[in-house]
Amino acid sequence: MIPGISIYEILTVTSILFFIGVYGFITRKNLISILMSVELILNASVINFVIINKYLYPDMLQGVLFSLFIIAVAAAETALAVSIIINLYRQISSVEVKDIETMKH
């Protein structure tokens, strides 16, 4: 644990990061920006896993291993999302949310 820093301060920082991500997710109009906001949200939750593991159960490793799996799933998700975005850009020449109607039905 970090000397002089309580768990409350770290959880405050991660909550702020999480809601910045939510704000970006709602207000952005571009697929790549939305993807970046999702990365922010995922990272905030990963820090929470690690911090709670370190501060409350320091002799266990479950939080660290879970965050490893979260990072792996996030990497797979980003690769798939980027490939979908590039494919969409080839078909309709745009990555704005309002232009994407071909996947609706």
Partner: protein, 178 residues
């Protein structure tokens, strides 16, 4: 000393996260996201999870950011500015996020955590043993499942990104060869 470093890291993370979701230049907002991810790796270094910090730096800062930069360069003109949401929508979203943050913080500060004072360090060997152990509490099954998931994601990404044009082109070349 660690206190000061943590406060600096927290300030960097929050400022660059806000810059990342509000910047109107696409490439700049990706670079701000890179700074946020490096700050998170710094937090991992501070709490002595060196392996996780290395993973964060290689997978996120090294892999995902490069992937996003490539996709930005493929689909955007660099000087193009993003359109932003209407001011009314921005204000409503800000209020909703602040409300949610308030709920989170009241819940966190009302909860009594049983913090264990410790200065244990975790070695990479411990993480590896735990990840590959067959005993109760071992993580061998998720480890194998995640490897299949990564393979499936790789094949899927190649097939989706290959698109239709390549198929047509190969068909044309086959026709001309016949």
């Amino acid at each position: 000393m660690e206190r000061v470093i943590f406060y600096i890291l927290a300030l960097i993370m929050i400022v660059f996260a806000i810059a990342s979701v509000t910047s109107r230049k696409m490439l700049r907002s990706v670079i701000y996201l890179l700074f946020v991810l490096c700050g998170i790796a710094g937090v991992y270094f501070l709490i002595d999870y060196n392996f996780l910090a290395a993973i964060q730096l290689t997978v996120y800062a090294g892999g995902i950011i490069v992937l996003i930069i490539f996709s930005v360069l493929l689909v955007h003109h660099i000087e193009m500015e993003l359109e932003i949401a209407k001011p009314s929508k921005q204000i409503i979203t800000t209020i909703a996020c602040l409300l949610g943050l308030g709920v989170f913080l009241t819940t966190i500060y009302a909860h009594e955590f049983n913090v264990v004072e410790n200065s244990l360090t975790t070695t990479t060997a411990e993480i590896g043993t735990k990840l590959l152990s067959y005993d109760a509490g071992g993580f061998i099954l998720p480890f194998e499942v995640i490897s299949v998931l990564l393979l499936a994601a790789m094949v899927g990404a190649i097939i989706i990104a290959k698109g239709r044009k390549l198929e047509e082109r190969s068909q044309k070349s086959e026709d001309s060869s016949i």
